[in-house]
């Protein structure tokens, strides 16, 4: 009887740990910071891609009601995939799309834009990647939606835009006023 109890409890424990581990498999452990903790420093300085002038983020986002900051690079394949979504978003009046060219070669970056079209109203370069870190970004591609009036981050997407995120972006812009 004692032997039986031991056996049953061992089997039970093995099965239990199996299911715990199985559940753990489906859970993504990638951590991403919550929006509240990442404030944007609007004094961040950067150079334009098409001129040598310097600008600040504050100047860049001062145009319309909303801004999208999109971090991209010509060497980044997912950036190619999401480009059509950005071109699509360009048609929204209330929105201003700013590109940050991340750790890229100037010639390749210009070629990329020429080839795929330019969704950005302004493009600044970030050759060392430091500006992107000051924005609290992870890498390319990354898209940040900002409310220009309240200067807050409304949404942040790490990774390329897809149909779902695209629809969500449009919805947020439509509903926020």
């Amino acid at each position: 009887m004692v032997k039986n109890i031991k056996l049953i409890s061992v089997v039970f424990l093995v099965i239990l740990s199996f299911f715990i581990l199985l559940k753990g498999l489906n859970k993504t452990n990638n951590y991403s910071p919550n929006l509240n903790s990442s404030k944007i420093d609007f004094n961040f300085k950067a150079k334009f891609l098409y001129s040598d002038e310097e600008t600040t983020l504050y100047e860049l986002i001062n145009d319309k009601d909303f801004s999208i900051i999109n971090i991209w690079a010509s060497w980044c394949l997912p950036c190619r995939d999401e480009h059509s979504f950005l071109l699509n978003l360009k048609s929204l009046d209330k929105l201003n799309i700013i590109g940050i060219n991340y750790k890229d070669n100037e010639i390749n970056a210009k070629k990329f834009i020429k080839e795929l079209g330019n969704p950005y109203s302004k493009i600044v370069v970030d050759p060392s990647g430091v500006n992107s870190i000051e924005l609290g970004a992870y890498g390319v591609p990354e898209t940040i939606l900002i409310n220009n009036n309240s200067k807050t981050i409304l949404k942040k997407y790490i990774g390329p835009l897809d149909d779902e995120k695209f629809a969500e972006l449009k919805l947020i812009i439509k509903n926020e006023n």
């Binding site: 910071p33 750790k103 060392s128 990647g129 870190i133 000051e134 609290g136 992870y138 890498g139």
Partner: protein, 120 residues
């Protein structure tokens, strides 16, 4: 003989520059060892060669050149990426168990040992 001296001088110069370089970034190494690389989780920023980590090291160097101390740099990064980026967890209501549990186990264990010893 002349060649030997020449080679010696070249090696000496090369190693000299290496040393001066290492000296410069020692502080960066020290700080980046305490930072979690967020896109290659499980590695520190120091260990990683990802774009994110490389940029992070440049940023840390810039901040040091600006005259900021370690504490200010950690605080800056925490404000951008959240507390997760540093390896040293602060005490708050989510991590209190993490900090207190070893203490509880220690006390519990010593009680057990004391009881065993006193029984004998």
């Amino acid at each position: 003989m002349k060649i030997k001296i020449l080679i010696f001088i070249i090696i000496w110069l090369v190693s000299f520059f290496n040393f001066s370089y290492a000296d410069n970034s020692e502080k960066v190494d020290q700080i980046s060892k305490n930072l979690r690389c967020l896109i290659c989780q499980g590695q520190s920023v120091y260990d990683s060669q990802s774009d994110f980590a490389l940029s992070m090291k440049i940023l840390i160097q810039n901040k040091i050149d600006e005259g900021q101390n370690d504490e200010q740099i950690y605080d800056f990064l925490k404000s951008k990426y959240g507390e997760w980026i540093v390896y040293d967890p602060e005490i708050n209501k989510n991590t209190v168990l993490l900090w207190v549990l070893p203490l509880i186990l220690f006390v519990f264990g010593s009680i057990l040992i004391l009881r065993k010893v006193s029984i004998k």
